[in-house]
């Protein structure tokens, strides 16, 4: 199987993820975009693992790690978003600017 296809797919997914993280307003969608980016990386890891015929299967092992960590991260992220929503009745990132420097 040629390497091009999975790499193209991974690049496409990553770009969609980046766009989502940078452009979406909804915190949940941003989290989902982060997942897209992580999974793009996963595809890359698996593809190169196969292509390089790695004896230790390091790429696949890493993928498992990334999936685990991504699950944990989403859990935490959703919990934070939930708390923010309870407090402010919004999940729009544009409205969460309390940490900015006030012009002196």
């Amino acid at each position: 199987m040629p390497l091009l296809m999975p790499v193209l797919l991974a690049g496409l997914l990553f770009c969609i993820g980046v766009y989502g993280v940078l452009a979406r307003r909804n915190a949940i969608l941003v989290l989902m975009s982060v997942e897209l980016m992580l999974n793009a990386v996963n595809i890359n890891l698996v593809a190169f693992d196969v292509w390089l015929r790695d004896e230790l299967l390091a790429g696949q092992v890493f993928t498992l790690f990334v999936i685990t960590i991504a699950a944990a991260e989403v859990g935490l992220g959703l919990a934070i978003v939930l708390l923010v929503f309870r407090n402010r009745a919004t999940s729009s990132l544009d409205e969460m600017t309390e940490l900015r420097e006030d012009a002196a």
Partner: protein, 622 residues
């Protein structure tokens, strides 16, 4: 030698005790101050007695050698006839002043530190007198300067006292810079700080001697208040009157003369310096006497008279007669201290320094009147008072140089000193008469009820009046002062013996009488007015020929201007640069902080853009 240690240590310990414990035990201040000075006087008298009984005295002791990078200097002391004579004079005046001050400054809140500083000053002056090492001498010299500064500023709540103290300090310091370099020049030529060594081995070439002595002369001119550095002395009169008597008339200002006497063999190697000295002395002598003629403040009259009399001593040195200078130093110490203390008594009684507010004090203060008259007669050089003989010694030495030459000083310096000295005798008699008439005769002007001062102030006056009358006699015989004040070789004594010429004596007495008579005639016309009021040149005399104003224009003004320019440069350039850096950084930071909007996504966009730019840069550049 024990006597020397006692003379040095007693006033020093008294000063230490007074400064440390004066506040805690106020009852001890007077006994400690007077006791320390008395001990010093006894010790000095022992030395003086030994000189008088079995001259010559020559004690030297080297207490320690202090290694330096170059020639080492030693804590060397020496007592010889000259030192013994001067130390006795210093101690007598110091004791009189201490006793007098107990009454004069009674109830003064800072009396304890005052008495301690007078003791410290006495110790420093005796250190100068007994020093046999240039560094030791310099230490005493500078300590005296500091004491003088503190004591002039005793009444520091008055503007004039503060200004006078600072002026005295700065002006004498100016001379001391030259003095220090003069010492360096001597040490470089001789390779030793020891005065004995310097005098014995000579300095080598005339050029070295001239350079070194001219530099030393700067210090002498500063300390002894000679033209052009004389301006500090009249302003130093803002200090208490006993201080003026001790420091600014009898002892410290004479230290410059004493130093030249000490190093006179070196000065004799430099005829140029002697000629410069003669010119300075003549300008100061006549200028000081004329300035004294125009003063209204009794202390300023005496201050200018001190300047003028010190110039007589310098003139004697410039014509090659150290003994005459020394003689005049001793008599002047006696009668000028007496005059200042008597003036202090007058000021204490009437509460003003100004002679136009005095007058008619003759009957009210008989003791002061009598002693002051003695002092004034000595100052005017009327026989048989002390000042007559010492002034004759100076004029006689000048005449000797002028007519026969003495191989060292040029004949023209002799003529110059003789002529100017004789003119000054007349002027001196005139201002002395003016002071006497305006203070004691005529009718009482001014409101304060005058009265005779108490015993603590009367007795020092009487004690000082004795040498003012009698001290002249010791100069009359070769076996007395000339032998005491030299190393005692027959040839040296003969050379040092005083030449009192009948011609100069007659002329000087006539001139003195003429000066006094002129003043008396002017006063007779209107006893209530100032006898010099009609003089055309009086404004010039009163302002002392505008030397102060010239310094203001020529030195003080430009220095102030420069200081202002420096301040402005500091304010605007240096501070501006520092402030500008800070302000620039703050502004830049504010500009950058505009981007911190709190929107995480904007930051991430920036981050991504940065990463992309870096990656692109790495790709294209490698």
């Amino acid at each position: 030698m024990t006597a020397v240690y006692v003379a040095l240590a007693a006033p020093f310990l008294a000063a230490l005790l007074g400064l440390l414990g004066g506040r805690r035990w106020p009852g001890l201040v007077v006994p400690v101050a007077v006791g320390g000075t008395t001990a010093a006087l006894v010790a000095a008298s022992v030395l003086g007695g030994r000189v008088v009984l079995d001259a010559p005295l020559s004690l030297r002791v080297q207490l320690a050698d202090v290694p330096t990078g170059g020639p080492p200097f030693g804590i060397d002391l020496r007592a010889d006839g000259l030192a013994a004579m001067v130390s006795v004079a210093v101690c007598v005046v110091a004791l009189c002043v201490q006793v007098y001050s107990t009454a004069y400054l009674k109830g003064d809140p800072r009396y304890s530190s005052y008495a301690a500083l007078v003791s410290l000053f006495t110790a420093a002056m005796l250190l100068v007198v007994f020093a046999d090492d240039l560094m030791v001498l310099l230490v005493g010299w500078e300590v005296m300067g500091v004491c003088s500064y503190f004591l002039i500023g005793h009444h520091w709540e008055q503007e004039a006292a503060r200004a006078g103290a600072v002026k005295a300090f700065v002006v004498t310091r100016l001379g001391d810079v030259g003095f220090l370099f003069g010492i360096f020049a001597l040490v470089r030529a001789v390779g030793s700080f020891s005065i004995d060594e310097v005098v014995r081995s000579g300095v080598g070439t005339e050029r070295t001697a001239t350079v070194a002595t001219l530099l030393l002369l700067c210090g002498v001119v500063g300390k002894s208040a000679q033209f052009p550095l004389h301006t500090w002395l009249p302003d130093a009169m803002a200090g208490p009157t006993p201080i003026s008597a001790l420091i600014h008339a009898a002892t410290m200002v004479a230290a410059g003369i004493y130093l030249v006497v000490r190093l006179f063999d070196v000065f004799l190697q430099a005829p140029t310096t002697l000629a410069v000295m003669a010119v300075i002395a003549c300008i100061t002598m006549l200028g000081g006497a004329l300035a004294a003629l125009g003063q209204d403040d009794i202390k300023r009259v005496l201050a200018y008279s001190t300047v003028s009399q010190l110039a007589y001593m310098l003139a004697a040195l410039s014509v090659g007669s150290a003994v005459a200078a020394n003689f005049h130093l001793l008599t002047h110490a006696a009668f000028k201290a007496l005059l200042f203390l008597a003036a202090g008594s007058v000021i204490h009684a009437v509460g003003t320094n100004l002679m136009p507010d005095m007058g008619g004090l003759r009957r009210l203060m008989p003791v002061t009147f009598l002693t002051m008259t003695v002092g004034l007669a000595a100052l005017a050089g009327l026989p048989p008072f002390a000042g007559f003989f010492s002034k004759e010694a100076v004029l006689g030495a000048a005449e000797e140089t002028a007519r026969h030459g003495n191989g060292v000083a040029a004949a023209w310096t002799g003529w110059l000193v003789l002529v100017v000295g004789l003119i000054t005798v007349a002027v001196t008699a005139a201002y002395v008469t003016r002071l006497w008439l305006m203070t004691f005769l005529g009718d009482r002007r001014g409101a304060a009820a005058a009265h005779e001062s108490g015993p603590a102030m009367r007795w020092p006056l009487l004690a000082l009046a004795v040498p003012s009358v009698l001290l002249g006699i010791v100069g009359l015989r070769d076996g007395w002062l000339p032998r005491w004040a030299t190393r005692g070789d027959a040839g040296e004594v003969a050379q040092a013996s005083l030449h009192v010429g009948l011609a100069t004596s007659g002329v000087s007495v006539l001139l003195a009488v003429a000066g006094a008579a002129a003043m008396w005639l002017a006063w007779r016309r209107n006893p209530a007015a100032d006898p010099t009021a009609a003089l055309r040149a009086r404004p010039a005399f009163e302002r002392a020929f505008w030397v102060d104003e010239m310094y203001d224009r020529g030195v003080v003004g430009p220095v102030r201007g420069m200081a202002r320019a420096v301040l402005r440069a500091d304010d605007e350039v240096v501070t501006g640069a520092v402030r500008g850096t800070g302000r620039g950084a703050t502004g830049l930071g504010r500009l950058v902080s505009l981007s911190q909007q709190g929107n995480v996504q904007t930051y991430l966009t920036g981050l991504l853009a940065g990463v992309l730019l870096l990656a692109l840069g790495v790709v294209t550049l490698t």
